[in-house]
Each structure stands twice: as C-alpha cells, then as structure tokens.
C-alpha cells in the first residue's frame, strides 16, 4: 500500500483523534477570531433593541440538552438583552426536556443581572428579576401544534397555570395579555421540528413577528421563510449566537467557541484534501 492508498483510506479513528486534539488545543489557547454580523441576526437584535420598556415578548425554549452548546448561548444573550431593556418575557417550552433548560437559563440570567454592567457604552444598574412581573414561565405541554393554536386563542387555554402552579391571572404582567396579539414578537429557539409548527400553525394563522434561533444544521432550511417575510430574523447555530453576543456587546460561550469551530472546519478540509489527493493520484496511477 503506497502513500496515496493510505491517504485515501485513513481509519476513521485517526480522524476522530486528530479532530479531538485540535479542538482541545485551540480551546486551551488564546486565539481570537473576527466575526462578521449578518443581516438576519442584526434584524433580531435591532427589533429587540427598539422595543420600549414594558413591552412583552414571547420566547419559546424548544430544545433539549443535546442542543445546549449551540442554543443556550442564544437564549442567554437574547434574554439578558431583553431584561436589560426592561422588557417582559413570557417563556414556554414545547420540547420534553425544555422546561429544565428554561429553568436553568432563567436562574443563570437572573443571577448575572444582579450586578451592574456596561454594554455598548450604556451603564445598566443591577436589578432583581421577579416572577410574575418580569417574566412568566408557562411550562411544557405535549403536542406542540395544539399548544400553539391554543395560545393563539388565549394563553390560558393550554396553560391555565404557570410552570410553578400559579394561575396566570395572578401575575401582574399577564393583565391584558391574552394571546399573540398583545406580544411584540415570538422568538423560537429550537433544535427540533417544533419550528415548523410555529411557522405553520402560529405565524401563518396569527401573523405575529417571528424570529428563529436554530441549530446550524437546520438554519439553512429556513431561509425561504426569511425571504418570504414569514420570519424576520434567523440565528443559525453557534455563529448566530456569537453574532448576537457581539451585537449585544456581551461575548460569552458562543463567541468563545467560534475559534474552535473554525479550526475544526480546517481539520475537516485538510482530511478532505488528503482524501482527494490520494484518490486522484491513485486514479492517475491506474490509468497509466
């Protein structure tokens, strides 16, 4: 077996090992990368940034722990941005393990808001996030299509009480909030097919502004909806999360992970090139 044959048939375990090594080394290093912000992420940021204090937005946390790495930073940066601007948030979760993710996010973000911070040159004082006044967490119900349609009539139909058992009417921020008509936008952060439900059963029926936060693999699929206007912004994968963090002047895990992703791509390209060199040279040899 000559070198070109070997290049063409590297055992996949060497590929895995080399990739893992590169990821660990880059993560441990200090390299930083430049990130360009795309229009579709900027639109979500601008929309949230232009809302007035007291406006209500709806955030659907529809992902499981397996998409934590890509989607949790998105949730974190959007929710922190919204709370800094004194917006009120209605959370829900239409995936089974989503309530755990949402609960974790709310706790962590509330803690981070307890210290004063400066973002984009503006000083934000410390604040305490209060359940019922700054947010309401509706919880989880199965069969997302039914829940989305039900919420279009009234949030209280699928969720008469919130996740913690309190009737929705007892929350001050739910006064006058019946359905999607009273929220400024819906942001669905999802790693599942629940996105299709939000578009088909939610946005198409009730015509609210919808933005999506998706895993990298799914994001490309939903650009037709962006072009048709059904969705006004998309954050795709770790890159989308990093772009939002950059716009919010709040670099976090996504921004940090982008350099690992960049070098991982370069490793994959290296192996593809090696495989093709081996393939082309072997084919040339066999023609001779």
């Amino acid at each position: 077996m000559n070198i070109f044959d070997r290049l063409m048939s590297i055992d996949r375990r060497w590929v895995f090992l080399f990739l893992a090594l590169v990821c660990v080394v880059i993560y441990a290093s200090d390299i930083s990368v430049k990130i360009t912000v795309t229009d579709e992420v900027r639109k979500i940021y601008n929309f949230t940034d232009n809302l007035k204090p007291g406006d209500v937005i709806f955030v659907a946390i529809d992902y499981d722990p397996n998409s934590l790495a890509e989607l949790h930073p998105m949730t974190y940066s959007i929710v922190e941005h919204a709370w800094r601007k004194n917006l009120k948030i209605i959370f829900t979760s239409l995936s089974q393990n989503g309530p755990g993710m949402a609960d974790l996010a709310i706790r962590q973000i509330s803690d981070s808001l307890a210290v004063p911070q400066e973002y984009n040159g503006v000083q934000y004082p410390a604040r305490t996030i209060v359940n019922g006044e700054d947010y309401v967490f509706l919880g989880y119900k199965p069969y997302p299509a039914l829940v989305i349609v039900g919420m279009g009539q009234n949030f209280r139909i699928p969720f008469p009480t919130d996740y913690y058992g309190t009737p929705l009417d007892e929350h001050p921020m739910m006064r006058g909030i019946q359905n999607y008509d009273q929220v400024k936008c819906v942001i669905d952060i999802s790693g599942t097919s629940g996105v299709d439900m939000w578009i088909a059963y939610g946005q198409t029926r009730y015509n609210f502004p919808l933005a999506l936060g998706l895993t990298g693999v799914m994001a490309a699929d939903y650009y037709p909806y962006l072009n048709s206007g059904q969705v006004f912004g998309i954050m795709g994968g770790m890159l989308g999360a990093a772009q939002y963090e950059l716009l919010a002047d709040n670099p976090g895990r996504a921004y940090d992970a982008m350099r690992v992703q960049l070098f991982a791509h370069m490793v994959i390209i290296l192996f593809i090139v090696m495989g093709n060199v081996g393939f082309l040279m072997t084919r040339k040899r066999s023609k001779l």
Binding site: V15, A69, Y143, G150, Y223, I269, M274
Partner: protein
C-alpha cells in the same frame, strides 16, 4: 365493520377538519378545540402502552438472561428511578417543590444533560469522517459538490487574507440562490405529496395504517 368504522371516522373527521379551516365561526372553533383535547387523552393512553412495551421487552431479556440483558436492567432502573423522584408525591405532590426534588434535578443536570450533549457532539466527529469518505472528485457533479462544500466551510475563515470577502460572497450566493432554489423545489414537491397522501388517507385509499386488508 372492523374496517368500515375506522375508515368512516377518518373520512368524517378529515372532511370536517378541512371545512373547519375555512370556517372562523365560534361553533367551528369550539368543536376543533374539543377534538384537540381528545388528542391529548389518546396520547396519554398511548404513552402508557409504550412504557408497558418497553418494560415487557426489557423484563423478557432479564428473565431469560438473553444477550446483553444487563443493558435492559439499567434501562428499567433508570426508568423507575426518574419516575419515583419525579413524583415525589409523598411530600409535595403537583407543586413547584415537587419539581425541585434534589435527586430529580441532579439526575437531570448531571446525567441527562451531559449524556445528551455527548450524543449530539458525536455529530462533529461523524461529519468529519463522512465528509472525508464522501467528498471525492469522482465525477464532474461530485467535484462541484466538493468545491461548493469547501467554499461554504471557508466563508467565515479570516485567515485567507484578500480572498476572504469573495469566499463569503460566493458562499452567500451558493446558499441563497441554487441551494434555496433546490430546497424550494423539494418543499413544493413535498407539500403536494403531503396533500395527496392526506387526501388518500381521508378518502380511504391509503389503508396501511389499519393493518390486515
């Protein structure tokens, strides 16, 4: 009768749901919501059936010491442990405190989350090995695929100096024009297929889900 009844039900409710979509009146909405409630009920019963199936299959393997019966033991232990901790009914049934049961939260935070994140992270390695195996310039079309994949992967790479902006623009064009065109075509085809299959099911032409003919 065994087949006529489900076929009739599918036809009646299928046609009703089609008509309901066009009728915004309150009475039509009321029936729609009533039917939606039934789906929850059916789903819960089906879940019970599913759990019974899992328990039966696992118990069968443990009882007869079939190959790898230990995995089935772990399955059952995990299932019952989470149920017991999740209910926590002796202390705080159906309250927020019940959801914060120490063991339940810790099992979720320190077992479920890392395991699921690990499984998802396998994708990174599998993509590397699949790309290495599949992206070979075997023909003109395969070469086009290879070049397009390389351009899209390199689009946000800042280390390519002056050609980086061109890579980004080309990648954007590839994603927003030919890629989107192909996707839209598939979406239209899939959409028509969905309508046709749904019509076949409602009209009783497609009957595989009923079992024996």
């Amino acid at each position: 009768m065994k087949r006529q009844l489900p076929l009739s039900l599918v036809f009646i409710f299928g046609v009703f749901m089609i008509i309901q979509y066009f009728v915004p009146h309150e009475s039509s909405e009321w029936i729609f919501e009533f039917l939606l409630d039934w789906i929850y009920i059916i789903g819960i019963f089906a879940l019970a059936l599913g759990i019974w199936s899992l328990i039966r299959v696992s118990w069968d393997k443990i009882k007869y010491r079939k190959d790898n019966w230990q995995y089935s033991l772990v399955t059952l232990l995990g299932l019952f442990a989470m149920i017991v901790f999740g209910f926590d009914y002796l202390r705080n049934f159906q309250t927020a405190e019940g959801l914060q049961n120490f063991m339940f939260v810790h099992f979720f935070d320190y077992i479920m989350i890392p395991i699921q994140a690990t499984m998802f992270s396998l994708l990174a390695f599998f993509i590397a090995s699949a790309a290495y195996r599949a992206f070979r310039a075997r023909s003109i079309l395969a070469s086009l695929l290879l070049i397009a994949a390389l351009i899209v992967m390199l689009r946000f790479n800042p280390y390519f100096g002056p050609i980086s902006p061109y890579l980004e623009k080309t990648a954007s064009w590839l994603l927003n024009v030919p890629n989107l065109a192909a996707k839209r075509a598939i979406v239209i085809g899939v959409g028509l297929g969905i309508v046709a299959t749904a019509l076949k099911v409602i009209l009783g032409i497609e009957r595989a889900y009923l079992g024996k003919d």
